[in-house]
């Protein structure tokens, strides 16, 4: 579904992505992990067309994304830190994104309902707490039934209850055969969600493998332990 071919990105002297190639199909739920500054966000932003690659290309369902922006109809993105115009209300923000998308298909308002956003549609964005803003971002990402979901640190600001609702939602969408990308530092949270792990290090992809295979090869029972195992091995060498 998403095919990344020899992607490189350089910010001035700093090479953030080094010849990254990655292939992701539908029905995968991918955890994108790696230390701070390893290029995770840059990779995600390249897929979304926010960062323009120095070289290489990204194909979305066989189409080069550099040529046409319409592929973004099929992507739902939840940013790490959402911020919206101060004086808009939650309702207006949702209206605006609906308006921009101009989507005729049925909307998925499940998250808006379950997060209880319907009762606070009149609140201005400026007055919202970080967690509520995150809820708005999450609802927007899922609203248009996209085939691909890209979630950047999604659960960081959510309270336990909301995080649980959100995880349920990810699982149910994933089961519908959607491709889900999640970046997170909370490995324990990812454990029951993800099917594949992509580990990045210094702008390169260390490995991309199914979670089961990773656990088997490291002889561990959880994702967190498997990753620590890999990192420790590095340390020894």
């Amino acid at each position: 579904m998403i095919e990344i071919q020899h992607l490189s990105k350089r910010f001035g002297k700093f090479q953030v992505l080094k010849d990254v190639s990655l292939s992701c199909g539908p029905g995968q739920c991918i955890a994108l992990i790696g230390p701070n500054g390893c290029g995770k966000t840059t990779l995600i932003k390249s897929i979304l067309g926010m960062v323009l690659p120095t070289s290489g290309s990204i194909l979305f369902k066989g189409q080069d994304i550099a040529k046409d922006y319409h592929y973004r109809h099929q992507i739902g993105y939840m940013p790490q830190k959402g911020r919206y115009p101060d004086n808009m209300t939650i309702g207006q923000v949702i209206e605006m994104i609906k308006d921009i998308r101009g989507s005729k298909e049925a909307l998925d308002e499940q998250l808006i309902e379950e997060f209880g956003l319907h009762d606070i549609l009149e609140k201005r964005m400026r007055t919202l707490s970080g967690g509520t803003t995150q809820k708005v971002s999450a609802s927007l990402a899922f609203l248009f039934n996209p085939d691909v979901l890209i979630l950047d640190e999604p659960t960081a600001g959510l309270d336990p209850l909301a995080a649980e609702i959100f995880k349920e939602k990810i699982i149910s969408e994933h089961q519908k055969g959607k491709l889900v990308f999640i970046t997170s530092h909370l490995l324990s949270e990812l454990d029951d969600l993800v099917t594949h792990v992509v580990m990045m290090q210094e702008g390169e992809i260390r490995f991309h493998m199914p979670t089961d295979a990773l656990k088997a090869s490291t002889n561990t029972s959880s994702l967190a332990k498997a990753i620590t195992h890999v990192l420790k091995q590095d340390h020894v060498q």
């Binding site: 932003k45 926010m50 808009m88 921009i100």
Partner: protein, 256 residues
């Protein structure tokens, strides 16, 4: 086609406290100037100086800060299926419409009530054009630097340059070169500053160009004619388009 984004931006900005304060400030100034001066001529001159000081300042600073504060929001828009050029134009017209509206409501209403004829229209049009110029310059400031403090610094410097330093430089040149016939060149130099262009336009409308001495006569000769006025107007439009288009070009290629 009417841009969807700008509608929402306008709705957002019109509720902004700073824009409300700006409208109120212009209104208080304009009403008091016209109530104090019996002669609407003098009133226009006083108001002109106030408008040419405050409008550029508020337009450029507000635009720059608004764009920096919208950076995450711009990212969200970028993740939607929408062309980059449309996001930027939406932001531009959103900011321009709301600041122009603030000007019309604040200063435009008293101008139309107290000043008669073409003068009122020209004063109004110049105010709106100056708003557009400095909104465009604000877009340039916000895209040039990633760092908010630096961007706002550049915006303040630009305002300072166009409203104070430029005139100082021109005066300096005038004295240094006073032995040469530079009056005609002055017309060209004035094109380099949008605020001066607007000022000349309005002063010529008031028939007080005699105050400007011999240079004023040349100005009158040039900008007083239909062609000169058209060129002056075109130059002001260029002052809007060039910074905006440069910023648009940079935005389309920018990594966010």
């Amino acid at each position: 086609m009417f841009n969807k984004i700008q509608r929402f931006i306008v709705a957002d900005i019109l509720k902004n406290r700073i824009v409300l304060a700006y409208t109120l400030l212009l209104a208080v100034l304009a009403w008091s100037v016209f109530s104090l001066e019996d002669d609407s001529h003098k009133g226009v001159l006083t108001l002109l100086n106030i408008v040419l000081l405050t409008t550029p300042l508020v337009s450029i600073i507000f635009t720059t800060i608004y764009l920096y504060n919208s950076s995450e929001f711009i990212e969200l828009l970028l993740s939607q299926p929408i062309r980059r050029t449309r996001i930027w134009t939406g932001l531009f017209f959103g900011l321009f419409f709301s600041l122009a509206l603030a000007f019309i409501v604040g200063a435009g209403v008293p101008i139309l009530l107290f000043v008669t004829g073409a003068k009122a229209i020209i004063l109004l049009v110049m105010g709106i054009l100056i708003t557009a110029v400095f909104v465009a310059l604000g877009f340039l400031c916000a895209i040039i630097s990633r760092d908010k403090a630096r961007g706002i610094g550049i915006a303040i410097l630009l305002w300072l340059f166009f409203s104070l330093l430029f005139d100082g430089l021109v005066l300096f040149l005038l004295f240094q070169l006073s032995d040469y016939p530079i009056e005609k060149a002055m017309v060209g130099v004035s094109a380099l500053n949008p605020i001066d262009l607007a000022r000349i336009f309005i002063i010529l409308q008031l028939d007080v160009s005699a105050m400007l001495g011999y240079t004023g006569a040349i100005f009158k000769d040039f900008f007083g004619s239909g062609l000169g006025a058209a060129i002056g107007f075109g130059l002001l439009c260029l002052w809007v388009m060039v910074p905006y288009l440069v910023s648009l070009r940079m935005f389309v290629r920018k990594d966010l």
